[in-house]
């Protein structure tokens, strides 16, 4: 039996209904768009990076509860980190939701660990992270989950 509560934890609903750091970021110097063509989820990520440190981050977009909560949690968890740390966090997060790595060191992001039981939803959870990576590389091309 699959337990829906493992996936839809209260924290996820909270971030879905009240996404943190939502909206355009004035003074952003990195920006990337992410798109999941399967379900139409869309995210735009704005970063202000100075001397290799992510000083500020905001996002816009529309998506399912998992995609929105994941983007919201991302903004909370990468602010103040170095680019390198943010990318390490991404690797850890993707390892967790795809079930290839055990969790640990991921803090609040672990509320999304339940995604590993729902392989169809991995792309929802990782969309914002792939978009962050593109923004850090300052890629102009929109990233997609495909």
């Amino acid at each position: 039996m699959i337990d829906l509560r493992e996936l839809y934890q209260e924290t996820i609903f909270d971030h879905y209904r009240k996404p943190r750091n939502y909206g355009r970021l004035d003074g952003a110097n990195r920006r990337a768009e992410g798109y999941n063509p399967l379900c139409g989820d869309k995210v735009v990520l704005y970063l202000r990076v100075e001397n290799g440190v992510i000083l500020d981050v905001r996002f816009e977009g529309s998506g399912c509860a998992i995609a929105t909560a994941s983007a919201s949690l991302l903004t909370e968890n990468i602010k103040g980190r170095s680019e390198e740390e943010a990318l390490q966090l991404m690797d850890g997060f993707i390892g967790m939701v795809t079930g290839v790595a055990t969790t640990g060191e991921l803090g609040k992001l672990e509320v999304l660990a339940g995604v590993r039981e729902f392989p169809q939803r991995v792309k929802c959870a990782t969309l914002a992270w792939h978009t962050m990576k593109a923004a850090l590389k300052n890629a102009d091309e929109p990233v997609t989950t495909e």
Binding site: M1, I2, L4, L7, Y8, F13, L38, C39, G40, D41, K42, S62, G63, C64, A65, I66, A67, F118, Q120, R121, C124
Partner: protein
Amino acid sequence: MNPAELQHDSDDLQVLRWRADFPILETQVHGKELVYLDNAATTQKPLAVIEAVSGYYRHYNANVHRGIHALSQRATDAFEAARAKVQRLINAASPDEIIFVRGTTDAINLVAQSYGRSRIKAGDEIILSQMEHHSNIVPWQLLCQQTGASLRIIPVDDSGELQMEAFYALLNERTRLVAVAHVSNTLGTINPVRRIIEYAHAHNVPVLLDGAQAIAHLPVDVQALDCDFYAFSGHKLYGPTGVGVLYGKAALLDAMPPYQGGGNMIRTVSFEGTTYNTLPYKFEAGTPNIAGVIGLGAAVDYVTGIGFDALAMHEQALLAYATPLLADIPGLRIIGRAREKTGILSFVLEGAHPHDIGTILDTQGVAIRTGHHCTMPLMARFGVAATARASFALYNTRQEADALVAAIYKVKEMFER
């Protein structure tokens, strides 16, 4: 007991008999009985189809149209018998007008590249509608890029019906083809294709119908419709995947150049030049999907055995039963309220994204489709990124519609805490 209840009871008994023909309906998912409501994506297969496919591989697997030996003759006979069954299903004038292809997409690409590239030039126009599946948009866009022709789009109104006045205004002396869905895969709208064809023909413009969503739910008579091309897939008609049909009027097909070159489609080959085979083989290059075609023949036998009157009456009753149940759910909006519909219910729910709806329904055993349904222009028309879509087939029951509704209430319970 009132007459309506009596009618329900006899309908229930009939559906139970049909359900017994589909082994997969016994399946459980996540510990729940499967409620399969994703029939617009693909239908399940009756035992007769499964056995026709495996029977070919077990007993007479051989290539067709080539061999001198017994198995090849049996395979060829079964293959051509399936063509005759499809011909009768859609009332084509001749079996030569039935081209076996991979599916609807392949059929439309064939027309775009063979008919389109030989007939359509820069400045010409092709009319599509706003509700088309990407498979009836992108092949024409490719053709436009190759030829310099352009697309004109029939708009859809708020109920999900084509705006016919706009269609009449779009058609002009530059129009070379009209290509529209017989039934919308997202909305379930049954389009007024007779009127479209009559009007287009009055201006000497041929019409292609994308029949992918019609073929399993409505009787289709290509001669009565007088359509020039009709495309459909086997797997939406209780048949195998990877096989479909292009119907074309013989005179049009005859005049068209080959689409793909290879074996079977030739009469003689030399390095100086090649002469082509007659219809339908001119368009069937290479070894075809023999098992698929034979399975499709069995599927045609299955649905004609039931009869379109009986299955359409059942599906319409189910749609009439389920529509108000869904519409009464607070916060739920049905997208597609055309007067004439097949059993498709697309909807959005306030506060819950279709993708979340799909996951939660799945845990309840209810299989639906969520997303843009390969109709992104139509999603934009209705101002949504995605919808959830339940689609009925002949084996669905009122109890399954109830299960859908209960599962949607489960979504609301989770998302409205």
